[in-house]
């Protein structure tokens, strides 16, 4: 297991959001987390990266207990983040967005060149302020930026949100190739079809709890679960 979440409980102020979540991401596997708006998916990502640490429970990454560590410490252990809403640095150029995130790893780590190879569109925009990019370009930049950290695990929060269908397709191809190169991914999504195609294993969340888990094939067949938890 690259990531083990053991019964975490997370609050936003006084509101009780994550009510005991346990979840595992095995190495080199894509794990999908599905659920509708407002069930706590983003809070789970925030708990893992340390933005909103859990009050109870433990988070183990590569055998290290990261519960309560500062976000920058957690990130430096090898967790990349593609957050909801992309959150590129709007006043930095495309190139600067990549440079500030870089944690070089010799010899075969990511560089700005290899990031631009993956997303040639970004190369044409090197010295543009990231705030002026289109939504699709910002998403590419957010992914490229997270790769510059040379992570072992990538946390992705609704990467398909607001993307045109063609871009969603391209994004799927990119994530598959990254996974084939050995990257583990925790993919948080509302897009069922996209997640079913990419993920090997799937968790479903409603109101702060995991209510269903199975392999993707199994969920694909399980009409009842799809209807009950995801409304399809």
């Amino acid at each position: 297991m690259i990531l083990e979440i053991q019964d975490i409980q997370t609050y936003y102020g006084d509101s009780y959001i994550l009510q005991g979540i346990s979840l595992h991401v095995p190495e080199k596997i894509v794990v999908g987390l599905l659920g509708r708006n407002g069930v706590g998916k983003t809070t789970l990502i925030r708990s893992i990266i340390g933005f909103t640490p859990p009050r109870k429970g433990r988070i183990i990454f590569k055998g290290i207990d990261i519960t309560g560590l500062a976000p920058e410490q957690i990130a430096r252990l090898g967790i990349g983040l593609v957050p909801q809403g992309r959150r590129v640095f709007p006043s930095l150029t495309v190139l600067e967005n990549l440079i500030v995130a870089a944690q070089p790893k010799e010899p075969e780590g990511w560089s700005t060149e290899s990031a631009f190879e993956l997303f040639p569109r970004l190369k044409e925009r090197t010295s543009y302020p990231a705030g002026k990019l289109s939504g699709g370009e910002q998403q590419m930049l957010a992914i490229a930026r997270s790769l510059m950290e040379n992570p072992d695990l990538l946390l992705m929060d609704e990467p398909t949100e607001g993307l045109a269908p063609m871009l969603v397709e391209h994004l799927g191809d990119v994530l598959r190739s990254l996974n084939e190169k050995g990257l583990s991914i925790l993919l948080v999504e509302q897009n069922l079809n996209f997640t079913l195609r990419l993920a090997d294993y799937i968790y479903v969340m409603t109101r702060g709890e995991i209510v269903y888990e199975s392999s993707s094939e199994e969920l694909l067949q399980n009409e009842e679960a799809k209807h009950l938890y995801l409304g399809v």
Binding site: I49, G50, F51, A70, P71, E72, A75, R76, L81, P83, R87, F89, P90, S91, L92, E96, N97, I99, V100, A101, Q103, R145, S146, E149
Partner: protein
């Protein structure tokens, strides 16, 4: 002619001193989201340290540099030992900086006394320059020159270096920056120290014209706040333009309509805020 030139140069040079103070204040706000009220006291301490060093060494450049350096260290210590403990508690941080204004000011009063003090001008700049029958206050010109160089240096640091990009990333979105592994707390300390240091530098080079006296810490802070309200918080350009405006408005206000001098500055603040609440170049926070 000479009359107007002198007042123009006075206004611009005071603007440069304000810029040195406001630039740090603005950067610290951009990154940490707090208005560092000690900034005026750090400015004043810079002048006092320079006064003492100048007396012992008789070297003006050494006095200015030592003042800037010592207050930079003081700023780092203050941030590390006190401010850092109250991360994410903006109100407590504000109260803490308010309390330290009094501590720093009383410390200055204890060490340097309550008499207004002026730093002697460095030797080659004591006389006015005469060009074509018009006299130019040479020390004012030196301040303008130094201020411009500092503005360019700060701009290069922020816009053209990796450290600058890291700081701007922190200003844009500090939480996200941390989530990418950027050591934002280290940036906080560094920027606080840098801000304290350039403010003290401004205080030291203004030593021969403004000097040092009890209460100056608030007067200069008030001016710098007017600068930031006009120029906008978190923007170096805003600090520069705002400083020039306030410097000139203060000088010409005092010359032309002395009874309305402060009103001109804060009336302008009100007008800018009415039409552009973020200031001329400010971002929305």
């Amino acid at each position: 002619m000479s009359y107007w030139i002198v007042h123009l140069l006075n206004g611009i040079s005071f603007g440069m001193v304000l810029f040195l103070m406001a630039a740090g204040l603005s950067l610290i706000f951009g990154l940490m989201r707090i208005v560092n009220l000690t900034h005026g006291a750090l400015y004043l301490l810079g002048t006092y340290v320079a006064l003492s060093i100048n007396r012992f060494t008789n070297s003006f450049p050494l006095a200015v540099i030592t003042g800037a350096f010592a207050i930079g260290i003081l700023g780092i210590l203050f941030q590390r030992l006190f401010l850092q403990r109250f991360q994410h508690e903006v109100r407590n941080q504000l109260l803490l900086t308010l309390g330290f204004v009094f501590i720093f000011a009383d410390l200055a009063l204890y060490i340097w006394g309550g008499e207004p003090r002026l730093l002697p001008k460095p030797v080659p700049f004591r006389e006015s320059l005469w060009i074509g029958g018009v006299s130019f206050p040479s020390y004012r010109i030196l301040i303008i020159f130094i201020g411009m160089i500092m503005a360019i240096a700060l701009w290069l640091l922020l816009e053209r270096t990796k450290v600058g990009a890291l700081i701007r990333a922190g200003v844009d979105d500090a939480e996200m920056a941390r989530g990418l592994g950027i050591k934002v707390p280290v940036l906080f300390t560094g920027v606080f120290g840098l801000g304290a240091s350039i403010s003290a530098f401004g205080g030291a080079i203004a030593g021969p014209i403004i000097g040092a006296y009890p209460g100056l810490e608030w007067e200069i802070l008030l001016m710098a706040l007017a600068v930031l309200l006009i120029g906008g918080l978190g923007s170096l350009k805003g600090a520069f333009v705002g400083s020039l405006f306030v410097g000139l408005a203060d000088n010409f206000g005092k010359v032309l309509v002395p009874e309305l001098a402060l009103f001109i500055i804060f009336g302008s603040v009100a007008i800018v805020l009415a039409f552009k609440p973020t200031g001329l170049f400010g971002k929305t926070y």
